[in-house]
Amino acid sequence: MSEAVTVEIGEYKYGFAFPDRSIFKTRKGLDEEIVRTISQMKKEPEWMLQYRLRGLEAFRRKPMPTWRADLSEINFDEIYYYAKPTEDRKEKWEELPEEIRKTYVRIGIPEAERKFLAGVGAQYDSEIVYHNIRSDLERKGVVFCAPEDAVRDYPELVRKYFGTVIPFNDNKFAALNTAVWSGGSFIYVPKGVRVEIPLQAYFRINLESFGQFERTLIIADEGSFVHYIEGCTAPIYSRNSLHSAVVEILALKGARVRYTTIQNWSNNVYNLVTKRAVAYEEAVVEWVDGNIGSKRTMKYPAVYLLGPKAHGEVLSIAFAGKGQEQDTGGKIVHAASDTSSVITSKSISKDGGIASYRGLIKVYPQLTGIKSHVVCDALLLDPQSKTNTYPYMEIESEDVSMEHEARVSRISEEQLFYLRSRGLSESEASLMIVNGFLDPLVKQLPLEYAVELNRLIELEMEGSVG
């Protein structure tokens, strides 16, 4: 047996930036005045301002989480929490400022818009700049707008559900988001309506030391279906950026929601996200979570199964390269009988990257017919890379079938040898094996995401981009 196989790498640079054209930017740091300013700029009703202030108070009170991923470099006082890039929202692509259009051309929105999308809410530095909802969605009564608009136009819905899945003091970063949230998506799907084409949004961080605090609320009424896709890129900057989003999903009786994310923040971003869904009777929620970028990500999409026959799934892919730490996983809480859950996590660590799985399966007492299955696979591509698995299972009912397994492995020499004997170079062979490893999850992604993900993996594995 020869010594360990180290896979060749290149630097994946997605770096580009445009001069800051924001029209209004708050000063650095966070205090009550800043929160009031944000609320004022958005012309919010008093109740939302009060809610933000409660979040601010909770943010100050709560300690930093110490249980994993070193967050000591985040300096809350050095961050700009809000910037407004244009005067108002544009309905047509052509009316956007040229720079912003150029950014999105590079990311690839126009083609996507033409071919795939039903509607796009694109975000540029915390504001919805470009927004276009297709007429048939409007006809069906599907609401897809900025959360700021929802606060104004659908206050009953917002007041009923906002903050009920992730409360203002759930954790320090959810509290921060509650105080300074800006942008994101609000989606309401009426009873029985199926949205066949995925709804998408893109996010970017442009301003140096700028935080992204989008707030997304998705309400799928009884029997409805919607698939939401979130994918983001960010340029590389010298100071650290903070991304602290909150996503709340409510899948009412018989509804199905799928939420897909491909995250590729540049390697200076702290990505600390709280994502949680509730699934009522016979509802289904699926999180598909791809984490490729960022310096540190802490994200554990959760599903609370609150009604009988509900089903929750988390599919997670993580890629931890040099200097990266992906701390991801999933949480499923069974609070009703005849519920089921599946968590599948696949991670790859390379060049000293650390990929950790952190998960929870909790079954409350007095339940019957519970099924849960968790599989965690970790692939280490070289001796410097690391992986950790921290699964928690708390089972308080008897009629449960719960299985969990985890495996750690590396690219085997036999596999490599076989592929090389077929004429593939070492890096081609490694790439093939890695793709094979990820395939079951990649298959779950919509086509263009699968393509983008494959490309990203290829770039991570092969030589530099150029």
Partner: protein, 103 residues
């Protein structure tokens, strides 16, 4: 064995008030229409609701924000999923009585 136990004077109940009797832990709330009581233990991770915030007749647990309807103990917000026990209250002679186990 449950019985009525005097745990506080009416005027003492302004903000959420924690009272202990034996090993029972109860929190008293003053709402616009009277005084209500719940077990002082969040059903999520057992923090003290008496240390939480009250908004719109709901109490929000200080640990993770689980919220409960003060009058009924029902869950109004995650991450809790189980209700908190409602404790019956009666006022007699300026004293607040709660109906709880006597140990």
């Amino acid at each position: 064995m449950k019985e009525w136990v005097a745990v506080a004077r009416v005027e003492d109940v302004q903000k959420p008030l924690r009272v202990e009797y034996g090993s029972q832990e109860v929190v008293l709330f003053r709402l616009h229409d009277g005084i209500y009581a719940l077990r002082d233990t969040c059903s999520h991770e057992y923090a003290r609701l008496s240390e939480g915030e009250v908004w719109d007749d709901r109490v929000y647990c200080p640990k993770h924000g689980s919220s409960f309807d003060i009058r009924t103990g029902e869950v109004s917000g995650l991450p809790a999923v189980l209700p908190v026990e409602r404790i019956p209250v009666k006022i007699e002679g300026g004293e607040v009585y709660v109906y709880i186990e006597n140990w």
